[in-house]
């Protein structure tokens, strides 16, 4: 028992769990037909539930999971999984039908229109009753998670944001606050608003389909599942006192001490590699980082426009292509920065404390 728990704890280090999630995600979008088949998904669900049930035998895990304000997150996890599975499965079925030259399910249903009232309204009313039951039962069994009266001299440790913001709070570990707290959320909102203007493809609209929209769906799901949901889960269940990382079966010990020695890119280049010490002038000191960042945003879009994404470039035109690439690169920069931190203890690529600018 202890051995299993220790193994799970070890597996749940940020780098392993993040990489493993990405691998699973890749397998899911690469083999959607197999992944959504009952033969694979039911055993996986069984495994997940069994793992969950096993976890509940652990005092600490149970305490974290059943804390009244964490219960919705557990529920959310299963609901999100279900809906992702459901949508992709519908797409896969339609793909298969289309391959066989049949029409999509949606098309066949189009012929059987009924009135909203009473048919839809009635069903919605019944669902509203069902929700009311859930809320009532919930309120009976889970009491409001009240804490002690706020005390200005004592900060709660860990101090956590509302659960839906814990993904962003997790980003604070890797990014300067103005990026994690201002820039990235702004990009998320702008990016979501921009989707209909960038993706004007009408092909595949009106019915579920995976094959026709593999790239678009995969990109969206990556942002949603890996960069939002996964980070919330990590932030909620695996960050304990002093924002230290804890495995699911590890007790949240306030005294846990782990070394955290992060260095800036300029220090790696000028001290470790060149051995000449940091230049006094910030512009010289941070030049490599600035060049690297600029290069990251300029070079790949240019090359891709000529090679792999030539057709997309032609379809979108330079402005929309540039906006898309910008958004994509910002999104991808999140895991890149995380990996750089894990691999090289890299603190900032550009660090200019002179005017509080860090990337």
């Amino acid at each position: 028992m202890t051995m299993i728990k220790d193994a799970v704890n070890a597996f749940c280090s940020p780098v392993i769990i993040f990489t493993a999630s990405m691998v699973c995600f890749y397998l899911f979008v690469r083999f959607p037909r197999q992944a959504t088949s009952m033969a694979v998904s039911l055993p996986l669900l069984g495994l997940a539930l069994a793992g969950f049930a096993f976890g509940l035998t652990d005092d600490h895990f149970r305490k974290i999971i059943t804390t009244p304000d964490n219960v919705p997150i557990v529920g959310m996890l299963f609901i999100f999984l279900y809906f992702t599975w459901y949508a992709v499965r519908k797409g896969v079925i339609n793909d298969q039908r289309m391959e066989r030259g049949e029409s999509t399910i949606e098309q066949t249903e189009t012929n059987e229109k009924v009135l909203v009232f009473p048919y839809l309204i009635f069903i919605e009313f019944v669902m509203a009753l069902a929700y009311a039951i859930v809320l009532v039962v919930w309120s009976i069994f889970l009491k409001a998670p009240l804490e002690e009266p706020a005390n200005p001299t004592i900060s709660p440790n860990p101090s956590k944001a509302p659960w839906y913001f814990l993904g962003l709070q997790e980003l604070l570990v890797y990014f300067d606050p103005w990026i994690a707290g201002v820039l990235l959320p702004t990009f998320i909102i702008i990016g979501l608003c921009a989707i209909p203007y960038i993706d004007r493809d009408t092909d595949g609209s009106g019915y579920f389909s995976f094959k026709k929209r593999r790239a678009v769906i995969s990109t969206y799901l990556f942002g949603f599942w890996i960069l939002w949901v996964l980070l919330i889960v990590i932030g909620t269940f695996m960050r304990g006192p002093n924002w230290n990382f804890f495995g699911p079966f590890e007790k949240w010990d306030i005294h846990k001490t782990v070394p955290l020695l992060n260095i800036n890119l300029s220090e790696i280049i000028f001290i470790k590699w060149l051995g000449i010490g940091l230049p006094k002038l910030w512009i010289v000191r941070e030049l490599p980082g600035i060049l690297l960042t600029l290069g990251y945003f300029m070079v790949p879009p240019a090359i891709l426009a000529k090679t792999k994404l030539k057709s997309a470039y032609q379809k979108l035109g330079p402005v929309r292509y540039a906006v898309l690439m910008m958004l994509l690169l910002v999104m991808v920069s999140v895991p890149i920065k995380m990996y750089l931190r894990w691999a090289f203890n890299l603190k900032y690529i550009v660090a200019i404390p002179e005017f509080f600018f860090n990337i």
Binding site: E109, N111, E112, K113, V114, L115, P118, Y119, F122, I123, F125, V126, L129, A130, A132, I133, V136, V137, S139, I140, L146, E147, E148, P149, A150, N151, P152, T153, I154, N157, I254
Partner: protein, 933 residues
């Protein structure tokens, strides 16, 4: 419109689910009502009412049996006889009743007429006045209306009065008929008064269907019999950091019998408070409607569930019991938990501030006194306890007293030399265990001893003459040393150190010098001078020097391992400079220099100077944590380390720390100078519990001034005196102010014990007491005990004089006695009385006039005029027993009857005054002359 595909849109299916959800929703709503209605406190109230009904039923039985059966029978018979008479008159009663109804109707009618007219009159009057004031012409018409209505009102009034009279007449007739029966009924009722009262009480608490209905869910908002009980406390608040909420205590919702007598043996939560005279009652010092419950007990007064109120079990056993019975768990998110029962007294100090002792809080007082005595408050700063004396001896001249070897052996383990010592163990404790650490500790000890001797002053020491040890032992017992010290085989005072094994510690010359005048060796010592003669001092010295501790003498002295010394010095130096510089500095030091440096560092590290005066540390700051708000310190700030065998609560941490001060270092890897430093006091369980109570009492909680027990200026002065009395240990020898003297308890003949000082402020003159405290003289020559000279300053003396005066409700004036003019006759009468009553038989007038046991002896009366207050003398002669119970002074004037009726006409008051006047004018020189002639 096509018919919907049943596999997609089935109305039947939807109906089915509608039915299912409707039922489930109704069930869940019923669940809400159930959860809302099901409260533990309701069950407790029901149980309490049942208990109350049972008790009342038992009471009723008793009351019913107490009723005189024969008497009752007789009265009942009388009553039924009266009833029978009444029945025979039923016709006339009916008649009268009809008349009465008619009369009442008449009254109603006339009353209406009168009231109507009266309203018109009032209205006319208003308009008339209003218009007249504003010179409105309409005034005239209202004057006319008023004039017209006045007689009508008068007429209506007369009619009404007439109708009322008519009714009264009929009523009187009816009453006369009914009187006999009513009186008989009243007699029966009176006899059954008690049982009826109890029956009513039972009725009020007995379960019934109506009550069940009133308490039913959804109906219980109307007039439930089960209700939350609460007290809202006007001046007390719960501090929620950002807001202060008025304290609301709902404890009585379940603890329903807490303020009622008769539930002393009831099971909890219904038991009566164990001290109703002091708490809860409206006449007690702490009425529940003013003080509430959580003010003292702590916890969450708003809540009515066992867990949310933050009950705290008193021990593991109770915890297990509660877990089983109530599903108790620690309320993690609530800071203000209840104090476990054994520490409740900690809450007294919230409101009772500024006093040396809190009345009736014996555990808290013990803890406080221990904290003062053991020097806890020398190291730990606590607001309100500043400026205390250092409890340890002055070490600025230690070299003249003892030698380095003794000091180092003592430091290793003070209890080895003297088990009763208050000096805690500082070195060789559990967090310094192991051979390596032992070497470091020994090095630090040797260095400390070296430092102390090197920096010691060498005041001149007298040569001790040869003394008689047996005589010395007797003197120790006779002179009063035992008021403060235990010595000569007698366990007595603990104020000063036990006087054992001194031969192994000090040198005779120093001891002799010290005994002669302690202030000569140490200006700050609390030890007073007993004004010993050279031979007395020499005798005591001889006795004390003969006491040795052989085991201690033969024990090996600790040695300073040079490497350990170097290691420690290096550790110290490295905290201030780089490693290489530290090594260089160390290599430059001579061996003696090393020890002195290490000694200085050790004293600074251990904070020895907090309790002892040490040269070179006059300005040093204490090393310990401030404890002013320790009773409220956040639990997260207590480091439990790897100690898991105690509950993680504030009180358990404090207690563990007191019992085993270094335990929280257990399992931690720490450098020599990083380890915990609190010394080991070897406290008993009672002591550690008392000190824990004291530490828990230290809070800076803001309590509204109205709610506090504020001291008046006089009370503050009394407390200042008490603090001084505590410091000087006056109560070691004298009984007063609620404390009994130690010496009195070990003196066989109470007459030979130091005087009791109850009422001293009313007894003696301030100027005399002031002089006496500074320069004691002999008042009772037969006493062997000697009042010591404390070397008090004028301010201290005044404080004590004022303290005694204020204790007796007097103000100090230092004015002395103003003698009234007295006629020579009266003086002569006084002299005659004085002689006839044989005052001089016990009271010393001349040195040769004593021939009795100590108990019968009395003070020298020649001192009276300067010493005593004249009004006290009067009271004393009147009734000595009332003033001082058990005194040998006879009462000559029982019930103010004089035994000598022929003097001053037998007037007792005049006689007593004459004696007083005689005493105040008594001149020993003149008396001696007259005796001689």
């Amino acid at each position: 419109m096509a018919k919907p595909n049943p596999s997609l849109y089935s109305v039947q299916k939807t109906f089915f689910w509608f039915a299912v959800t409707s039922v489930l929703l109704t069930a869940s709503l019923a669940g809400i009502v159930y959860i809302d209605a099901k409260r533990d406190w309701k069950d407790y109230q029901k149980a309490f009412f049942k208990l109350k009904a049972e008790k009342a039923t038992a009471e009723l039985k008793q009351a019913a049996s107490a009723v005189d059966k024969k008497e009752l029978e007789k009265l009942r018979a009388e009553h039924s006889a009266a009833r029978k008479t009444l029945e025979s008159n039923s016709k006339s009663i009916l008649d009268l009743n009809a008349k009465l109804t008619a009369a009442e109707l008449e009254i109603t009618k006339t009353k209406v007429v009168f009231q109507d007219l009266k309203q018109f009159e009032d209205s006319y009057r208003y308009y008339y006045e209003e218009y007249t004031a504003h010179h409105d012409p309409r005034a005239a018409s209202y004057a006319a209306k008023l004039a017209e209505i006045k007689p009508r009102v008068q007429e209506a009034k007369i009619k009404l009065e007439k109708a009322e009279k008519g009714r009264d007449t009929v009523q009187a007739g009816l009453d006369a008929l009914l009187r006999q029966e009513k009186e008989a009924q009243k007699k029966v009722d009176q006899l059954l008064d008690e049982t009826t009262r109890i029956e009513r009480k039972i009725e009020a608490v007995k379960p019934s269907f109506a009550k069940d209905l009133l308490n039913a869910p959804m109906l219980d908002f109307i007039a439930p019999t089960l209700e939350i009980q609460q007290v809202v406390l006007e001046n007390l608040h719960d501090d929620y950091h950002f807001a202060k909420a008025q304290k609301v205590d709902r404890c009585t919702t379940c603890h329903m019998g807490i303020d009622q007598k008769g539930f002393e043996d009831a099971p909890q939560p219904f038991r009566t408070h164990p001290n109703l005279d002091l708490y809860l009652g409206s006449m007690s010092a702490h009425p529940i409607e003013k003080i509430g419950c959580t003010t003292c007990h702590g916890g969450n007064g708003h809540s009515v569930s066992f867990i949310d109120t933050a009950h705290t079990p008193r021990d593991e056993k109770q915890k297990a019991e509660w877990e089983k019975k109530y599903g108790w768990r620690d309320l993690e998110k609530w800071e203000a938990k209840m104090l476990p029962l054994q520490y409740t007294q900690a809450a007294c100090a919230k409101c009772h501030t500024g006093t040396v002792e809190v009345p009736q809080a014996d555990k808290l007082n013990l803890g406080r006194n221990l904290a003062v005595d053991l020097g806890c408050l020398n190291c730990h700063k606590v607001e309100g306890f500043e400026g205390l004396w250092k409890v340890g001896p002055d070490l600025t001249a230690v070299a003249s007293k003892t030698d380095e070897t003794w000091v180092s052996k003592w430091l290793q383990d003070p209890t080895r030399f003297r088990p009763s010592t208050k000096m805690p163990r500082i070195f060789h404790l559990e967090n310094q265990a192991g051979a390596d650490n032992a070497k470091l500790e020994d090095a630090a000890i040797v260095a400390t001893a070296k430092y102390l001797h090197h920096h010691s002053a060498h005041p001149e020491v007298l040569r001790a003459p040869q003394g008689d040890a047996a005589m010395g032992e007797k003197l120790i017992k006779d002179l009063g040393c035992l008021g403060c010290h235990s010595a000569a085989g007698v366990t007595a005072g603990t104020h000063g150190p036990e006087l054992s094994s001194l031969g192994s510690k000090v040198n005779a010359d120093w001891l002799f010098t010290w005994l002669k005048d302690p202030k000569r060796h140490s200006a700050t010592t609390r030890m007073p001078s007993l004004r010993l003669s050279d031979s007395e001092a020499a005798d005591i010295t001889a006795y004390l020097m003969s006491q040795r501790n052989e085991a201690f003498d033969s024990a090996a002295a600790p040695k300073a391992d040079p490497k350990a010394v170097d290691d420690l010095i290096l550790l110290n130096l490295q905290s201030k400079m780089r490693h290489e510089e530290a090594v260089a500095q160390l290599s430059k030091m001579a061996p003696d220099e090393k020890l002195l440096y290490l000694g200085e560092r050790t004293i600074a590290h251990q904070g020895c100077y907090s309790c002892h005066d040490i040269r070179g540390f006059e300005q040093a700051k204490s090393i310990a944590t401030e404890l002013s708000d320790e009773g409220r310190k956040n639990l997260h700030q207590f480091d439990f380390g790897y100690v898991h065998d105690i509950p993680h609560t504030r009180q358990d941490w404090i207690r563990k720390k007191l019992e085993d001060p270094r335990v929280f270092d257990h399992g931690k890897v720490k450098g020599y100078y990083e380890r915990l430093r609190m010394p080991h006091f070897g406290l008993s369980e009672v002591e550690s519990e008392a000190i824990t109570t004291f530490v828990l009492s230290l809070t800076q909680e803001e309590i509204a001034l109205e709610a506090q027990d504020l001291l008046t200026t006089d009370e503050q002065r009394i407390e200042r005196g008490r603090r001084l009395i505590q410091k000087l240990n006056c109560q070691g020898c004298h009984s007063f102010d609620g404390k009994d003297a130690i010496l009195r308890s070990i003196t066989e003949d109470p007459g030979a014990a130091p005087p009791v000082l109850h009422g001293q402020g009313s007894k003696v003159q301030e100027a005399w007491l002031h002089d006496f405290l500074q320069h004691p003289t002999t008042i009772r020559p037969w006493l062997k005990y000697r009042m010591p000279t404390f070397g008090l300053t004028d301010t201290e003396t005044q404080d004590i004089v004022r303290y005694f005066a204020l204790l007796d409700g007097r103000q100090t004036s230092y004015r002395g006695e103003v003698l009234q003019e007295v006629s020579p006759d009266r003086l002569a009468a006084g002299k005659e009385l004085f002689e006839k009553l044989q005052c001089a038989k016990c009271h010393q007038i001349t040195a040769s006039s004593q021939a009795m046991g100590a108990s019968f002896l009395a003070p020298d009366l020649t001192l009276t005029k300067h010493r005593l207050r004249s009004d006290w003398v009067i009271d004393w002669i009147k009734d000595p027993q009332a003033m001082q119970e058990g005194t040998m002074m006879p009462g000559f004037f029982p019930d103010m009857q004089s035994p000598l009726p022929d003097i001053l006409g037998g007037d007792a008051q005049a006689q007593i005054e004459a004696i007083r006047d005689y005493l105040y004018r008594y001149d020993p020189a003149a008396a001696a002359e007259s005796t001689a002639s």
